[in-house]
């Protein structure tokens, strides 16, 4: 790929993103001139960029979008949901094309058809409000409808400009050349030369008077033609008309239309919203339906690309099925998914951060230089104390630089959360529109940074929470009105950093979750006994929606408002060493809070000693460390508990959990670690507290990988081994 082309791909992506963002702003506030201008500029620049390369359909499509915006800017059209839909669609196609261009450097075969379809769609969307009424053929242009099918074949299925040019009889004396004008019509699709009236008898015929009139169809926009005919505005009339597609289409016979429609529908089904569990549940039937349709159509040769995409990400599969719907064996069906993924693997790094890294490496090289010198001194039998002093100094310097280096490398991997926020405005817009619930999204804290791995993990749960909030949390406008709330719901996604790591909150002002309903459901499903459920506080009851059994049930979501796939959210967040918090007030709203560590490369652990060995727990799970005198520990049969902040918390002993011998030593009290196990507080007796540590956790490998209860191992600075525990598996 040439550098220029590379630059084009990069720029186009940015322009498409900028255009998408501006469009959403504009839809929210159609009077925002700045947004129109941003959008217009982005498309205009994009058009210019595409024109540099051999990709006429791309240019054509973007040009149509630009035209539409011009109409909006000039007040000839209004930005409404439909027009926004069309423009978003255009941007989506553009994005897909850029992805394709990046690896194949060519547009898909159907690019021209799709570009024309977009163009026609946009013109139709505008035409409805600006040019013709009701999309019917404008007055004076009925001749267009009466054209024989063969004559208008070139224009079929397109929205074109119809030209009726009736030159004045004495036009030659005004210096007009009607035929030449007609020849200069751009993108001429049809030209009819007719007699202006009854043909005069030969004796009466005056060759210096024009007796002809012209009827033409052009693919060029009306504005362009107005310019062309500017010298004869009184003799010409122009109209934008839609030419219907031929009634009997291409020689493929009748049924393919149904097959195509069905294939498209299957692609659409995959794109329907829903929890991971729901979308996953729809996939098998879609795959089988697509295979069957292909088989019924005798297109078994098209099955391999489908098989390749079958287990892959949904969007790749959707693209694959769409391309199958577009026709048999599309030119390049292979490798639709891989390149974009590869592109995602690259990491753009701030130049300043890279420079800092280079500086530190330079310092390290200098500091290292003192070591050979010390070695020589040692060989020469220098005084041991002086030597030790020198080694300590060198070590101190290197240690400090290595610490800085570690920090600098971590920073390379830090990215702003706006990366996972970016898809949200579009998601909210589309979902809200589909559900008929007006929603205003407030995003804040996008500049908060987190490790790339954390961002990767955060993406899905975040989408999930937002979808859930719209689907189940936010009420319909009618219900909101009845409850005395504003029609437009508010959805906030807010990120910030606190001592423990990164916090992302998703809150809505919807119906809230009814804790009583969740309790009832849990009892009905046998997850809890009625007594157990009654004993739960409301906060604890809300956490029940994170349970797998409960959350995958459809009915709980209907009943309580939430729940589908919430266990998946919890799973992903906890896998990253974080936790989920829920707060909800019926009628007021719900807030989900995801607390995530800053990075996964370095894990912050609270270390404890028990039976002579060191163990670690993620800092994010530890809520406190306390010493309890023996008297404060209550015993009921075999169970022990302590009271922490007026709450009875079960007390467990790490030695027992790990099957280690009991502690025989006399002690005045117990060292207790307070841990939050996903909403369930637990007190854990350990032998002694040790310092916190930042470690690079290595997962257990080989046979040890199957051991339950261990998150990994780490080597501490003094060389001792530490076992990081996964308490959830132990308790």
């Amino acid at each position: 790929m040439s550098a220029l082309f590379e630059q084009f791909v990069l720029e186009s992506r940015e322009l498409l993103e900028a255009a998408g963002a501006a469009l959403l702003r504009l839809e929210r506030d159609p009077t925002e001139t700045a947004a129109v201008n941003d959008l217009f500029r982005a498309l205009h620049t994009l058009k210019g960029a595409t024109a540099l390369f051999d990709m006429a359909p791309f240019t054509r499509m973007v040009h149509a979008g630009e035209d539409a915006l011009m109409a909006v800017r000039d007040g000839r059209a209004v930005m409404n949901g439909d027009l926004a839909d069309r423009l978003l669609d255009l941007l989506d196609i553009g994005t897909a094309w850029i992805d394709g261009l990046e690896h194949s450097q060519s547009l898909p075969d159907d690019a021209d058809t799709r570009a024309r379809a977009q163009e026609a769609g946009l013109r139709a969307a505008l035409g409805g409000s600006a040019e013709s009424m009701d999309g019917g053929t404008p007055a004076g242009f009925t001749w267009v409808d009466e054209l024989p099918e063969a004559e208008r074949a070139k224009a079929a299925g397109r929205t074109v400009t119809a030209i009726a040019y009736d030159p004045a009889e004495d036009c030659f004396f005004a210096g007009d050349d009607p035929l030449d004008l007609c020849r200069r019509i751009p993108d001429l699709l049809l030209l009819r030369v007719e007699t202006a009236g009854a043909w005069p008898t030969l004796t009466d015929l005056d060759p210096y008077r024009c007796a002809l009139r012209f009827r033409a169809l052009s693919g060029a926009p009306k504005d362009e033609l107005t310019r062309l005919f500017r010298s004869v505005p009184d003799q010409v009339s122009l109209a934008t008309v839609a030419i219907p597609a031929p009634s009997a289409p291409v020689p493929l016979a009748a049924p393919p239309s149904l097959a195509t429609a069905m294939l498209r529908e299957q692609a659409r089904i995959l794109g329907l919203p829903g929890s991971d569990a729901e979308t996953a549940a729809r996939r098998p039937a879609v795959l089988r339906a697509v295979r069957n349709i292909l088989a019924a159509e005798g297109r078994n040769a098209d099955a391999p690309p489908l098989d390749r995409a079958a287990d892959g990400p949904a969007d790749a599969l959707i693209r694959c099925i769409e391309s199958l719907a577009d026709g048999p064996a599309a030119a390049a069906p292979a490798a639709p998914a891989a390149p974009p993924l590869q592109a995602r693997r690259t990491l753009r790094v701030d130049a300043e951060r890279m420079d800092r890294l280079m500086t530190l490496v330079g310092e390290l090289v200098v500091a290292k230089g003192s070591l050979p010198y010390l070695a020589r001194e040692a060989q020469q039998g220098r005084n041991a104390d002086a030597l030790a002093q020198g080694i300590k100094e060198a070590n101190g310097r290197i240690d400090s630089i290595v610490g800085d280096l570690q920090d600098a490398v971590l920073r390379l991997r830090l990215l702003p959360l706006s990366r996972v926020f970016d898809p949200l405005p579009r998601l909210v817009r589309d979902t809200a529109r589909r559900l008929g619930k007006p929603v205003e999204l407030h995003l804040s804290g996008g500049e908060t940074e987190a490790d790339k791995d954390i961002l990767d993990i955060l993406g899905e749960p975040l989408l999930h929470l937002v979808r859930n909030a719209l689907d189940h949390g936010v009420e319909t406008p009618e219900r909101r009105r009845a409850a005395g709330k504003p029609d437009v719901a508010t959805l906030r996604v807010h990120a910030f950093q606190d001592s423990g790591g990164v916090v992302v909150e998703v809150s809505d002002d919807g119906a809230g979750i009814d804790a009583a309903a969740v309790r009832r459901k849990a009892v009905a499903q046998g997850a809890l006994s009625a007594e157990q459920a009654a004993a739960l506080s409301d906060t604890e009851a809300l956490r029940l929606i994170l349970l797998p059994g409960l959350s995958t049930s459809d009915s709980v979501s209907d009943l309580s408002g939430r729940g589908v796939g919430m266990d998946a959210v919890r799973g992903a967040v906890e896998q990253a060493g974080g936790r989920v918090e829920i707060a909800s007030a019926p009628g007021v709203g719900t807030r989900f809070r995801l607390v995530l560590p800053l990075t996964m490369m370095v894990t912050r652990l609270v270390t404890v000693e028990t039976a002579g060995a060191l163990y670690g727990f993620p800092v994010t799970l530890v809520t406190g460390m306390q010493r309890f005198p023996h008297g404060a520990i209550r015993r009921m049969k075999h169970a022990e508990s302590v009271v922490v902040q007026d709450t009875v918390v079960p007390l467990l002993r790490l030695r027992r959990l790990l099957n280690l011998p009991e502690d025989e030593r006399e002690r005045s009290g117990e060292s207790v670690l307070l841990v939050d196990l996903g909403g369930q507080p637990v007190a854990l007796v350990v032998d002694a507290f040790r310092e916190r540590a930042e470690v690079v956790l290595k997962p257990m490998t080989g046979l040890l990988a199957r051991l339950r209860g261990y998150a990994g191992t780490a080597v501490l600075g003094d060389g001792s081994l530490l076992l990081a525990l996964n308490l959830r598996e132990l308790v």
Binding site: M262, I269, R291, N292, I293, A296
Partner: protein, 137 residues
């Protein structure tokens, strides 16, 4: 094209389960599909439909929406949770013609949606496609 059973004896007749609480609709659907060479089984509501589907694993489901005891949406959602039935293509048929109804059907797990009444040719064409049956004559 619909008046003769599939002439190829090697291909087993695809098995279609029709779930509808209206007996006339079931009879009509059966007649249309059997004439086109499908083997047809009937169920009278969602629960009945689930039971039939579990015991016979059909190749295609044609499901009504509004039914007593268990409606078509619920039935399809349950069905999609069932390992042996999650991939069986399903057509939903209803008198509702709004986009939102179609959307709900697809969300519940349908692969296609028809608004009643369905022309016989459309029904058989869709059934042929979704069961992968070749031989359009």
């Amino acid at each position: 094209m619909t008046d003769r059973p599939d002439p190829q004896p090697r291909v087993p007749q695809p098995h279609v389960l029709v779930v509808d609480d209206a007996v006339t609709v079931r009879a009509y659907t059966r007649q249309v599909l059997e004439a086109d060479g499908f083997q047809v089984d009937e169920a009278v509501n969602g629960i009945d439909g689930l039971e039939h589907a579990l015991s016979s694993t059909p190749d295609l489901l044609i499901v009504d929406i509004n039914m007593q005891k268990m409606d078509g949406y619920t039935m399809l959602r349950r069905l999609r949770q069932e390992r042996s039935l999650r991939d069986v293509p399903a057509i939903m048929i209803s008198t509702e013609s709004k986009d939102s109804d179609r959307e709900k059907a697809l969300l519940a797990g349908a692969n296609w949606y028809f608004v009643k009444p369905v022309r016989p040719a459309d029904l058989t064409a869709a059934a042929r496609l979704l069961t992968g049956r070749e031989g359009r004559s």
